[in-house]
């Protein structure tokens, strides 16, 4: 199930133990990212790299903006 959320709901999810994933390129992640976020760039997101995440826990992800 895919659900769009705003930042207030995101904070609630993180407080509840959700995983946070930034899918921007590594240099953009290195410059600045949300607290506690992991980085898997979209172009590298596959079954292998996704093993960094716990498939049984909620995952919230983001990029730069809504565009």
């Amino acid at each position: 199930m895919l659900i769009s959320i705003d930042r207030h709901r995101l904070r609630q999810l993180l407080d509840g133990g959700a995983q946070l994933l930034e899918v921007l390129p590594a240099d953009e992640y290195a410059e600045e990212h949300l607290p506690g976020a992991l980085n898997i760039p979209l172009k590298q997101l596959d079954a292998n790299t996704a093993q960094q995440l716990d498939i049984h826990r909620p995952v919230a992800l983001y990029c730069w903006d809504a565009l």
């Binding site: 199930m1 895919l2 659900i3 769009s4 959320i5 705003d6 930042r7 709901r9 995101l10 999810l13 959700a18 994933l21 930034e22 899918v23 921007l24 992640y29 290195a30 410059e31 600045e32 990212h33 949300l34 607290p35 506690g36 976020a37 979209l42 997101l45 596959d46 079954a47 996704a50 995440l53 498939i55 826990r57 909620p58 995952v59 919230a60 992800l61 983001y62 990029c63 730069w64 903006d65 809504a66």
Partner: protein, 150 residues
């Protein structure tokens, strides 16, 4: 980009996937903390003064005049959620007994800026247009403070 990544995770078997659609810029623009060195240029957030005079929509303007320091000539008009509704200006000319409501007198829709805006660029525009202060808000319009030219 993030919806595609979210659908990718669903394809890979993840069942609870949430897309923070507005993204990193929205978080930064709200003035919320981040990790990492940040961009090379300074942001408005670093110079935002949280001490900004405010008043409510339903206050009498004379009451606002009496409540605020006499040197203050304008203040931000906010609602119960600290959302900016307007500006009350020329406070120094208001009669302390003036019974009119702020909502009747204020200038609605003032220019606001985000904490994520480039500080040098904003201040350059302020100097060029001789703007003495700008209200800093979140993307939702919540008042965070005020920025001065220097």
């Amino acid at each position: 980009m993030s919806p595609r990544a979210a659908w990718r995770l669903l394809q890979l078997g993840f069942e609870q996937v949430y897309d923070y659609t507005a993204g990193k810029i929205d978080w930064i623009a709200a003035g919320w903390p981040t990790e990492g060195p940040g961009p090379g240029e300074a942001r408005v957030l670093t110079a935002t003064d949280p001490n900004v005079a405010t008043c409510g929509l339903e206050e009498a303007v004379g009451t606002v005049r009496r409540r605020l320091d006499p040197e203050i000539t304008s203040c931000a008009v906010i609602n119960d959620h600290r959302i900016v509704a307007g500006r009350l200006e020329h406070l120094d000319t208001i009669d302390p007994q003036d019974p009119r409501l702020v909502s009747q007198v204020m200038r609605p829709g003032p220019t606001t800026i985000r904490p994520s805006d480039n500080l040098d660029e904003v201040r350059e525009r302020m100097r060029a247009r001789q703007v003495q202060q700008l209200l800093v808000t979140t993307p939702d319009g919540e008042l965070l403070g005020v920025l001065h030219p220097e």
